[in-house]
Each structure stands twice: as structure tokens, then as C-alpha cells.
């Protein structure tokens, strides 16, 4: 098969390994992880731009290296080429190799901050993303200095306690997919957990979902195929998403 994959850069190393094992001819394009920090419609716009650019190039399918991620995927339409996406809340489920395994782990470990090599290597955003980010829009990116200048030193502890998005987290779980830098970054994640006073766990990752994606083994319970003329709809069930006829 001749396939195109448009993917979040968090999967860069894992996908490169999968591509070296596939018999399919796969053209790959990575998009900055930073688009997750934009408003949902802006994230969608960026991915759709890449899809449309490749829609009439004769690929058998365009694969998406994304999960529901901020619900960007709802309403996504396939126009000329079929689209294929793993059924997963986000990249963590994909890197664990199973959406169900992720759900179970997630609910048994509330307040867990997940990390992987791709996550940690792509954690800083470009200025263009920073300027348009939700953090900027809501003032969550203000430095201590800016908060002191605007609201006074006496209000800094009050504001910082309320603006810290991770203040209720208790644990870092590092997903090890055995790629380059795994050991070093797992250690860094562990050190971050220790300095925050959080627990730490390393979980073995599994790239089977990414391998199946590029191999074209799209079983119904793990992948959604969106045929031309269809769009993605949220289901509120275990399958997370379904494809329905798109109204023109």
C-alpha cells in the first residue's frame, strides 16, 4: 500500500522504528506537539491543512498519528482519501499499545503526569505557538516577575497556588518504548518526580498500535477508518469515536 502518515512529533522515534519493519510504502510528516497548546479549532486547522495538501495525491489512506487529543478529531471529514486513526484518548494510550490498558491504569492512578521520550524531547514551544497558546490567552504563562509587577509580591503565593495546573498531581509515569534517550529521560522524569515529592513509575511501552497503523492492519476495535464523505463523531462509549455520513 502507498500510505501517508501525518503524526504528532511525539512518535518520531517509535514511528521510524515501525517504518523500518513495514512492507508498505509510507510517506511521513510530523507536526509540532505544541499545537496541542492551541485552542482546539486551531489544532484541528493545522492538521487538516496537512491532510488536504495530500488528499489528491493518490495515497491509499492517510494515517493520523493522534488520539482524541483535546477533542480536535470530532467533526474531522474525509474528502478524497480515507483517513485512519487509532482509537485512543491520547498518545499515552497509543504508546502503551492498548486503549483499554491505558484506561485501566489511568483510573487506578488519578493525578498521574505521563511522560515519554517524545514528550520530553518536544516540551518547548516555538514563539509562534507561545503567542497563540491557551496559556497566553488565559494569562497562565505569566512569570513570577510579571505577577509581582502587576499584582504585588504579597499576592504571589496566592496566585501561584491557583495557577499551577499540576498542583494536584501525585505521580509521574514514564512510558519506556526503548528508543534512544529512554534511560536518560526516564532518569530525568524520576528526578522531576522526586523534586516534586511525587511517586514515580516506569511502564513498559508497546508500539504494536503504531506498527499496525503503518502495516495497514486496521482492526475495527482499535482503529477508525473514515471513508470519503464521512466525518468523525464522539460516541461516549468504549470505542470513543465512530464515522458517520458528513452533511455537505
Amino acid at each position: 500500500m502507498h500510505l501517508k502518515i501525518i503524526s504528532c512529533e511525539v512518535f518520531q522515534q517509535e514511528l521510524s522504528n515501525c517504518l523500518s519493519k513495514t512492507t508498505n510504502e509510507v510517506e511521513i510528516e510530523f507536526i509540532s506537539k505544541g499545537i496541542h497548546d492551541l485552542r482546539q479549532h486551531e489544532m484541528k486547522k493545522r492538521i487538516v491543512k496537512s491532510i488536504r495538501k495530500n488528499d489528491d495525491k493518490g495515497f491509499d489512506a492517510i494515517l493520523l498519528g493522534y488520539g482524541l487529543c483535546n477533542t480536535w478529531v470530532y467533526g474531522l471529514k474525509a474528502e478524497i482519501t480515507p483517513l485512519v486513526i487509532p482509537r485512543s484518548h491520547d498518545c499515552i494510550g497509543i504508546l502503551m499499545g492498548s486503549h483499554t490498558k491505558y484506561e485501566n491504569y489511568f483510573h487506578n492512578n488519578p493525578g498521574t503526569y505521563f511522560q515519554s521520550v517524545g514528550w520530553m524531547e518536544n516540551s518547548s514551544n516555538s514563539n509562534s505557538i507561545k503567542k497563540r497558546s491557551l496559556k497566553k490567552l488565559y494569562g497562565l504563562d505569566m512569570t513570577d516577575k510579571e505577577l509581582i509587577t502587576q499584582f504585588g509580591k504579597e499576592n504571589l503565593p496566592y496566585l501561584k497556588a491557583r495557577l499551577d495546573q499540576t498542583r494536584n498531581y501525585k505521580k509521574i509515569t514514564f512510558i519506556d518504548t526503548q528508543v534512544e534517550m529512554s534511560k536518560k529521560l526516564s532518569k530525568a522524569a524520576q528526578e522531576k518526580a522526586e523534586s516534586n515529592g511525587w511517586a514515580f513509575e516506569e511502564l513498559e511501552g508497546n508500539t504494536r498500535l503504531l506498527q499496525r497503523l503503518v502495516d495497514g492492519v486496521w482492526n475495527k476495535n482499535e482503529f477508525l477508518i473514515i471513508k470519503p464523505g464521512e466525518k468523525v463523531k464522539q460516541t461516549y462509549k468504549e470505542d470513543l469515536i465512530e464515522s458517520v455520513k458528513a452533511t455537505p
Binding site: L68, Y102, L140, M142, L147, L159, R162
Partner: protein
């Protein structure tokens, strides 16, 4: 009484020290606490909510306004004990659903609900359906506001509503949902009474559904 407008401005501009000193002065002059709340502070918080909704105010500004109002209310509240107006103020329960520990948005809603005259009982994060029910019964709440930031935890809102139905108390409360992944469609699908995409609009909806005039 001209100086009372400064109380409005102190809440609007997020200046706790001025809000407290004006309130102290007003109470020393026996000004009716309800006047301070309704004519000055609630009006200011309404404007804070409006500015936030239009992205004219950042979250830190809203938090400072909430701090200013809270500081003034701490002086006023002891005077309202046993007061009929306080007793009939509507109780709202807020909480982030089970499995989810994010609370910035939920806390903003809580601040604006308080600013809008509600008595708010916040259950914090990772709240089970049973904890929501217990709080509703204990505080005779009329409003339940559930938050979720993740698609993994959104289903907890449906579970909570279902447990309210099983306990046969669903009809006694208005149940609203909010949070980044939540949509109108989701709210309808799970049987919630409403959804808004920001805290300020959530307060307006809550008042509307409870028949509270602005």
C-alpha cells in the same frame, strides 16, 4: 456613601486591601451588608465575568477580584449568621469528577458563583458520585456543577447523573457540566441540564435555570 463605589472598583480591579478597608469603614458606619454585597460587589463580579468571557481579563485578574470579594465577605459573613437572606441563598456544589485532578476552571466557576451570590460548597477534585449526593443532601443544594478536563474522565459526569437518578434525587437539582472536552451535545446526551464553555456564562445559565433574577 460616595466612597462605596470604591468597593465596586476594588473588587473589579482585584485590590483586596482596599476592598477590606472600605468594607470595614462601611460596616462601622452601619451600612446594610446586603447593600455592600448586592449593589457593589456582585455588580463588580458580574463585570469581571463579562470581561473574562471576552478575554479582556486573564485568569490572574479574575483570581484577584475573587480574593478582594472574599476578603470583604469574610468581614460581612459573621453579621449574616441567622440572617434570612443568607439562609435562602442558593447552595451550589462544585467538584471535578472522579479520576480527574484538574481544578483551575472549576475554581473560577466557584469564585464567580460566589460573586453572583451563591453559597458554594466545593468538593475539590476526584469526586465520586456518592460524594456529590452526600453534599447535595447535607447542604440542601439546588445546583451541582461538575467539571472534567480530560476525555478519559468525562464519562464520570454521566455516571454521576445516573447515580443521582438511581437515588431518585435527580429532579431536585440542576446539574451543569463544563471543562475543555465537554460540548453541548455531550451535555444533552448524558442528561445534564446544561453546559457553557466558560465560567462566567455558566453562572448566567445557572441563574436562568434556577429562576434567579440577575
Amino acid at each position: 456613601m460616595d466612597y462605596l463605589e470604591k468597593l465596586h472598583d476594588a473588587v473589579l480591579n482585584g485590590d483586596p486591601a482596599t476592598a477590606i478597608s472600605i468594607t470595614e469603614k462601611a460596616l462601622a458606619e452601619n451600612i446594610d451588608p446586603h447593600v455592600l454585597i448586592n449593589d457593589y460587589m456582585v455588580r463588580a463580579m458580574d463585570e469581571v465575568g463579562r470581561r473574562f468571557e471576552k478575554f479582556e481579563y486573564f485568569i490572574p485578574q479574575l483570581l484577584m477580584s475573587a480574593k478582594a470579594m472574599k476578603g470583604a465577605m469574610a468581614l460581612i459573613k459573621p453579621l449574616l449568621v441567622g440572617d434570612s437572606v443568607q439562609d435562602i441563598s442558593v447552595c451550589a456544589i462544585t467538584g471535578t469528577v472522579k479520576g480527574d485532578v484538574h481544578d483551575i476552571g472549576k475554581n473560577l466557576l466557584g469564585a464567580l458563583l460566589e460573586g453572583g451570590g451563591f453559597r458554594v460548597v466545593d468538593l475539590g477534585t476526584n469526586v465520586s458520585p456518592e460524594q456529590f449526593i452526600e453534599a447535595v443532601q447535607k447542604h440542601e443544594a439546588k445546583l451541582v456543577c461538575m467539571s472534567a478536563l480530560l476525555t478519559t474522565t468525562m464519562p464520570g459526569m454521566k455516571t454521576t447523573i445516573d447515580v443521582f437518578k438511581e437515588a431518585e434525587i435527580r429532579d431536585q437539582v440542576i446539574m451543569l457540566v463544563g471543562g475543555a472536552p465537554v460540548t453541548h451535545h455531550f451535555a444533552e446526551e448524558i442528561g445534564a441540564d446544561g453546559y457553557r464553555d466558560n465560567a462566567s456564562a455558566g453562572v448566567v445559565l445557572a441563574k436562568e435555570l434556577l429562576g434567579i433574577r440577575k
